[in-house]
Symmetry: C2
Subunit: 292 residues, 2 copies
Amino acid sequence: MIAVDWGTSSLRAYRLGEDGNVVDKRSTQRGILTVQDGRFAEALEGQIGDWLDTGEAPVVMSGMIGSRQGWKEAPYAQCPAGLSEIAAAMVRVEWKGHCAWIAPGLTCRDESGVPDVMRGEEVQILGALDKLTEDEAWICLPGTHSKWVQVQAQRIIRFATYMTGEVFAVMKAHSILGRMMSDGELDLRAFDGGLNRARDNGGLLHHLFGARTRGLFGELDDKESAGYLSGLLIGHELRSVPRQSGVVYVLGAEALAQLYVHALGTQGYEPRVLDPDAVVTGLSRLASLARV
Amino acid sequence: MIAVDWGTSSLRAYRLGEDGNVVDKRSTQRGILTVQDGRFAEALEGQIGDWLDTGEAPVVMSGMIGSRQGWKEAPYAQCPAGLSEIAAAMVRVEWKGHCAWIAPGLTCRDESGVPDVMRGEEVQILGALDKLTEDEAWICLPGTHSKWVQVQAQRIIRFATYMTGEVFAVMKAHSILGRMMSDGELDLRAFDGGLNRARDNGGLLHHLFGARTRGLFGELDDKESAGYLSGLLIGHELRSVPRQSGVVYVLGAEALAQLYVHALGTQGYEPRVLDPDAVVTGLSRLASLARV
């Protein structure tokens, strides 16, 4: 089969053999935002046309390619949902003798009835389910929009999104806080300072201003400020999530996952890392149902 | 005397008669960021040279003109501070036979030892003190960086800053939330929805994402989204401030002050509006001590 993780800013394609192992992979910046006039078929052929031409392998895709801005909208499936519900909500696209399945996103509503959504993460989770040793588990997927996901009996029960990564990026690039920040590796001691600060009274909007005043008073230098801000924001995320202790699985790109593992460890959790390539396994599981 | 409120992006000058009434005023966009190579004297003369030339009137200034980026740094005075402490910390600048006093900012530290600062607001408060009917009072100064200030016996005891206005502006202009927002008048019903949402569990980073999902699900349109975001942020500010009920004085530019009065009213406070031109009275009080 061919598995395609097609997001806003990147496209990752994997060719799997009969045994399910990856025999080839390609990663490009050909995200859906770079595709003009809905020419997704041409964009896909541009990347993996040679794979498509070799046979009848099913193609399964996940990510923003199934959004309203993508190839064909795959409406959000409702939580709770597992492999069968997600597979059943896939949509099919066809072109020039080829076809592909697109996985839907997931949605749920919190106790106040406010909706939440994910698109792509649900397939990563499908691919990681067999690594969870408990019947009930929490998975944290850090990122621009961090997700905290509760899984029970192989199904996604509920989840919540935190704009942690985007608030960090936007405040660093565009707010007064960014003027006192240099780029480069995150200062882990300052990060821990931000994490601890997040546990104080005062709220995030007040704590953010402290990143500036501590800089003004020489308590944070330009190298430390970004680490402090990151710690503040991740600390406020941890303070807000439904899971406040115990085992949390972390599924995400390596550097960010390591930062979350560190943060979770200092805040009394037991973090466990999941394979960041779980999306391939998830797409492969979906492919087995799409074939029917 | 001549009172000058000289901030980052604007300069407001007031000429006062012997009786303390404003006889003339000028407002320009000649904020300190527009002044090149430290030529503040020339910039001030360009705006009110004719006033300066007519006599011996003392000039007292407040705002970012006293910051490290301003004419001459007037180091922050420590809380608690009232008229005498602030007057004693003024610094003097002289040029071509003229002179002017620059008010200092104020600083305090919270229970965790994190510093906070204000520059300009302390003079507004000095000008409003005689309007407070209680010996102890809380003043809210809404803005890019909202301030909540506790006053007792005519002195500023402590305060805390919230980046509410800047986070709103930055998220609207630069985050994914802004893509679903149109400009124009704030939708007050959506604003109230955001205010109420801020009282739910989940934290600000999660609530922010709800502004997007509610848009995706057609529960907020482009006109309503900015109001909802504003309500969310002001709601989180109110949730975080030390004062949770009772009388709160509001001191700020009219439209924003009215929005805060509305928010405070719906959240169980008793808001009372102070004259936004209190800075003139404050500078005038400082002038009376600077003359000595």
